[in-house]
Amino acid sequence: MTREITYGQAILEATDQLLANDKSVYLIGLGVPDPKGVFGTTVGLEKKHGSNRVMDMPVAENGMTGIILGSSLVGMRPIMTHQRIDFMLLSLDQIINNAAKWHYMFGGKMKAPIVIRLIIGRGWGQGPQHSQSLQALFAHIPGLKVVMPTTPYDAKGLLIAAVKDDNPVIYIEHRWLHNIFGSVPEDFYKVEIGKAHKMAEGSDLTIVSSSYMSLEALKAADFLKKDGISVEVVDLRTIKPLDKETILSSVKKTGRLLVVDGGWRSFGVAAEVMALATENCYGSLKAAPVRVTFPDTPTPTSWALANHYYPKAIDIINSVRTMFNLPVKTEAEIGISYDVPLDVPDKSFTGPF
C-alpha cells in the first residue's frame, strides 16, 4: 500500500524495516535515542529494537567512524547519523583513508558496508559551520558512493539500497526536505544507486539538479512553461556513481544544459556534470552549459545576507531566459511570491534548528 508520508517519516520507516529485516544492521549516532530523535527520523526505534541496536555515541566522530568501520569488517551493517555534516568533517581520516580504500587496498578481501547519514541545511542563521553542502568532496573520493534523495519515495528506497550495498555510502539529506510529503509504499523496496530520476519531461533544455535544489528547479520549470520553454528536470538522486546515460541522453535531446547544485561553484558537482556533457555530446549543444550554484564563499549567518546567498527559482528562470536570449525578469514580473520568510522551509518551522 502507498500513502502520503513525509521524507523524515520515510527515513524512519526505512530504518525500522532494515532493523527488523537484518540482524546485522544497527543504528548509532549522537541523539539517536533522544526525545527529538534526529529530527524525528529515529523516534521510537530504540524502544522497538533495543539499545544494543539503536544507540547514542560519544562525541568522537573520527574514532566512532573507525569503530563502525571495524564492526562492518566482521559482518555488521552500521548506519551512523550526524545531525550536521559539519561535525563529521572530524571523521574524514577514517572515511577517506580507511573506509573508502579498505576493499581496494586489501585486494578485495574485505568489504566495508557502512552508511553515514549526513544532514545538510540552510536558513535560520545556521551560518558558516552549520550549513555546508559537501557532496562534491565525498564524490571526489574513489571507493565512496554518494546519494542525495529528493523525494520521500527516494529517501526510503535509497536508504534501504545504501544499507544493502557492500560499500561505504554517504547518504546526504537536506533539512528542508524532512517535512515534505510524498507517496511512499509500505513495502521494503530499493531505489537503485546510480540511477537519476526524470522529474519533468521537456524538450528545450535540461536542468540537472539534486536534493532541495531539484524542488527549486521544478518550480522554475513550471514558470518557464508559461514562457514557452519546455524544461526537462533530471534529479540526480545519486551523485556518485553519476548516471551519465540519463544525463547525456537528455542533453542530446534538448541541446541545452543548466546544472543547479546546492554547493559551491568551483570544482563542484555542477562543474563535473558540465564537463561530462561537453566531453561527450559537445556536438549536440546549442549553447554553452550554465551553472547555478552557491557563491564561492562561506555561508553568512544574518538572514539579510543569507537571503541573497542561496539561489532560488528566479535565478534558475533568469539563467534559462538568458540562454534563450530573453531579458531577465523580476520575481514580481513573473509572479513569484513567498508566504514565509526566505530563511525557513515552511510555516511550521519557527527555529531554532
Binding site: 544497527y26 573507525g66 569503530i67 571495524g70 583513508n97 586489501f106 585486494g107 574485505m110 557492500d166
Partner: protein, 327 residues
Amino acid sequence: MDKALLKKLYYEMLRIRLVEENLASLYSEQEMRCPVHLCAGQEAIAVGVCANLKTDDYVMSNHRSHGHFLAKGGNLNEMMAEIYGKETGCCHGKGGSMHLVDLSVNYLGSTPIVAGTIPVGTGVAFGTLLKGEKKVTVVFLGDAATEEGVFYESLNFASLKKLPVLFVSENNFYSVYSPLSVRQPHERDNLTIAKGHGVYSDKGTGNDVLDVYRVAEKAIKHIRDGKGPAFICFDTYRFREHCGPNYDNKLGYRLESEYEEWRKRCPVVTFEKKLLQKKDIDQETIDTYKNKIQSEMDEAVLFAKNSPFPKVSEVYTDVYAEEKKND
C-alpha cells in the same frame, strides 16, 4: 614454563629476525619497490602477545607490522609476494609492506596512517560483541599513536562498552626521527591515561619475551573473563632506520651509545643466551632452526620473484565491492 613454549617463543622471534635481515639484504636489488619498516629489535612484543592468542582472535597493526603478521601466523609467501608487488601477494599487489592481511588467521590488516587501526580494531571488538562471539581483538600501536585523538576516543568507547580489545603499545622512542622528548611531556604516563578511562593497564619489559608473554597473558585473561578492555605497554627499540633496510644512526637523531645499549638488550640474543644457559635448548637445535627458517625464507623470496605481476586491468578492479545478486 614448559620447554616447548620456550622454544616456540624463541623460534618465532628468530624467524621474524631472519626474515627482516634477509629482507634488508635483498632490498638493494631494487625489486621490492615499496617502503618497508623493519621491526628487528622489537620481535619480543609481537611474539609474546600473539603466543597468547587463538587462531580466530583478531589482530590489527600499523606500518611496522611484519612481526605482528608473522607472529599471528600470517603467510610468509604472500607477505613477500606483496612486498615484491606481485599478483600472489596478500593484497594482490595493491597494498605492499604497509598493508598486510591474512584472513585465514584473522590478521585483519595493517595500515600506515598513525593510529588509523586503533578505532578500527576497537570496532572489530564491538562487532564481535554485537554478534555474541567470544574473541579477543589485539591492536598493536606505536608511541606516537598514543598522541592521536582516536587513541583516547577508542579507549573511551572500549571502556564504555566493555569491549574485548587489547591495546598493545610499543614504545620505540622515535616517531621517524622525532624523539619522545619533543612529543610528550616527561610527566606523562600512558598507563595512567588508560586507567583514567577505566581500562585495565599494565607495563612490561619490551625486550624480554617472557615478561611480555606474562603481561599479555594476564591482560588477555582479564578480557576473556568479560571484564573489558586492556592496555599494555612496553619499551623497545628498532635497530634499523625508520623506513628502509639500512642503519641510520649517522644522521645524528639518536646517539650511537643509546643504540649500543639497546643492542645489548637484543630480545633474540638475550633470550637465546638464557635458554642455552638453562639448557632449555642446545646449539644444534638453534642451528637447525636457523637452517629451517633460512630455507623457508629462500623459498618465499623465490615464490615472490617467480610470481607474475598483476595484470594492468587490476588498477581498476576492487574499487567497489560488487553487489550480491538476488539480494
